[in-house]
């Protein structure tokens, strides 16, 4: 089956760089399955799980805390704010993140709308992390 190059980078390191058959990425406006030859796009990502398919099987799934992806017919680059393999997600950290994000949102109640939006995005990402941790 045809493949494309998938690159997953976080600010701290390059996590993944190899040809894959399909990747499902958590785009801002809904999950998006990317196959080779996809139309060029730049999308924002929300907190969610990236699933990678190779050889007809799902081989890799990582949780990301939002970020961006650049898609071209032969290559997908995912810039993740933070990425953790699903297997090493911990429920307690996730729960802690949710509490923190809730507190941050509450504290931002009187700030500018952009700051409030950012806080609520973070809370959503933290909730997604909790869901992913529970499912894993």
């Amino acid at each position: 089956m045809a493949t494309f190059d998938l690159e997953l980078v976080s600010p701290e390191r390059l996590l993944l760089s190899r040809p894959v058959e399909m990747a499902v990425i958590p785009a801002y406006e809904g999950e998006m399955g990317v196959l080779p030859g996809h139309a060029p796009m730049i999308v924002a990502l929300r907190g969610g799980v990236i699933r990678v398919t190779e050889g007809g099987r799902e081989t890799e799934s990582l949780f990301i805390m939002g970020g961006f992806a650049e898609i071209t017919p032969g290559r997908v680059t995912v810039l993740a704010d933070e990425a953790t393999p699903l297997a090493s997600l911990s429920r307690t950290t996730a729960a802690q993140r949710v509490t923190e994000a809730e507190a941050a949102l509450a504290a931002a109640a009187n700030d500018a709308p952009e700051i409030r939006d950012r806080a609520s995005d973070r809370l959503m990402a933290a909730r997604a992390m909790q869901d992913a941790a529970q499912a894993a």
Binding site: E7, V9, S10, P11, E12, R13, L14, A27, Y28, E29, A39, P40, M41, I42, V43, A44, F68, E70, T72, T77, L79, D81, A112, E114, I115
Partner: protein
């Protein structure tokens, strides 16, 4: 003239100093390697970010409601300087260089009639600059108790700058830090953060393909999310380079100190032996002339 006992004491104390500087040099070398590896690991993200920004920025630039972070406030009055230095000393001229560079910039800007605000990162720069420019310091950030600088810290600084920008507290923001050129050479330099300098569009490849990109959500929303990230990345890179530079500088400084201590030990040992010899000769003369007198 110093007695033999004094000399022996001094030789021993210089020897233990040499042991310490040697150990510090070794530690700095190990940490330098780690810091360099970390800086290396951060590069792919920065490169890809740049590529995306180049294509997005070109699509938005010139539009009147482009984000502030890209085009600035349109004025050039209040400058925010972020000065990055180390938390600790014993690193040669590392902190002084950054401090001196910042001071020259502040002087130059104020001579042009601009207002300068300072945000210091690292304890050493804060103490250096506060002596002269205490009234301009709007904030101090110190990572003395953070073991390893991560992206988190950079993000924190970026968030703070973003909040200040929203509040209209400055017009132009730049970063002063020691750029890592090589292990033995770090250059104090300035980098503009806001308005963000757009990475040059590679005319061959990007120009052709960028028109074809679809954006989700729109260009402007994307850009307003991408720019703060980019800001954090730039700061992260500066922090890492500064950290690598610090260890490089410390390594060189400690190497010099070790060598100097060695020279000093040689000199003192020579002195010690001469004094000892002189004492023996003197005693001999005393005994011989005593025997002759009998």
């Amino acid at each position: 003239m110093a007695s033999l006992k004094d000399l022996r004491g001094r030789i021993n104390s210089v020897k233990s100093t040499r042991k310490i500087t040697q150990a510090m040099k070794m530690v700095a070398a190990a940490k330098l390697r780690r810091a360099q590896a970390q800086a290396e690991a951060a590069r792919p993200y920065a490169q890809r970010m740049e590529r995306m920004l180049a294509s997005l920025g070109a699509a938005v630039v010139g539009s009147p409601d482009a984000p502030r972070m890209l085009i600035g406030t349109g004025r050039d009055q209040v400058h925010l300087l972020i000065v990055v230095t180390a938390e600790r000393g014993l690193s040669g001229a590392f902190n002084t260089n950054a401090g001196r560079f910042a001071r020259a910039r502040i002087r130059a800007l104020e001579a042009e009639g601009k207002t300068v605000k300072l945000l210091t990162v690292g304890r050493k720069g804060a103490t250096y600059l506060k002596r002269e420019f205490a009234s301009r310091v709007v904030g101090e950030i110190s990572y003395a108790n953070v073991k390893r600088i991560g992206f988190e810290q950079a993000d924190e600084i970026a968030t703070r700058i973003t909040a200040m920008l929203e509040a209209g507290e400055f017009d132009v923001c730049s970063l002063v830090y020691n750029r890592f050129q090589s292990v033995i050479s770090q250059v104090a330099s300035e980098q503009r953060l806001i308005p963000a300098p757009l990475p040059a569009n590679d005319p061959g490849t990007a120009e052709g393909s960028q028109a074809l990109y679809e954006y989700e959500p729109g260009e402007e929303e994307l850009l307003s999310a991408l720019l703060p990230k980019n800001l954090a990345i730039q700061i992260y890179r500066a922090l890492l380079e500064s950290a690598a530079g610090f260890y490089g500088s410390q390594m060189t400084a400690m190497d010099n100190a070790t060598r100097n201590a060695g020279d000093m030990i040689n000199r003192l040992t020579l002195n010690y032996n001469r004094t000892r010899q002189a004492n023996i000769t003197r005693e001999l003369i005393e005994i011989i002339s005593g025997a002759e007198a009998v």
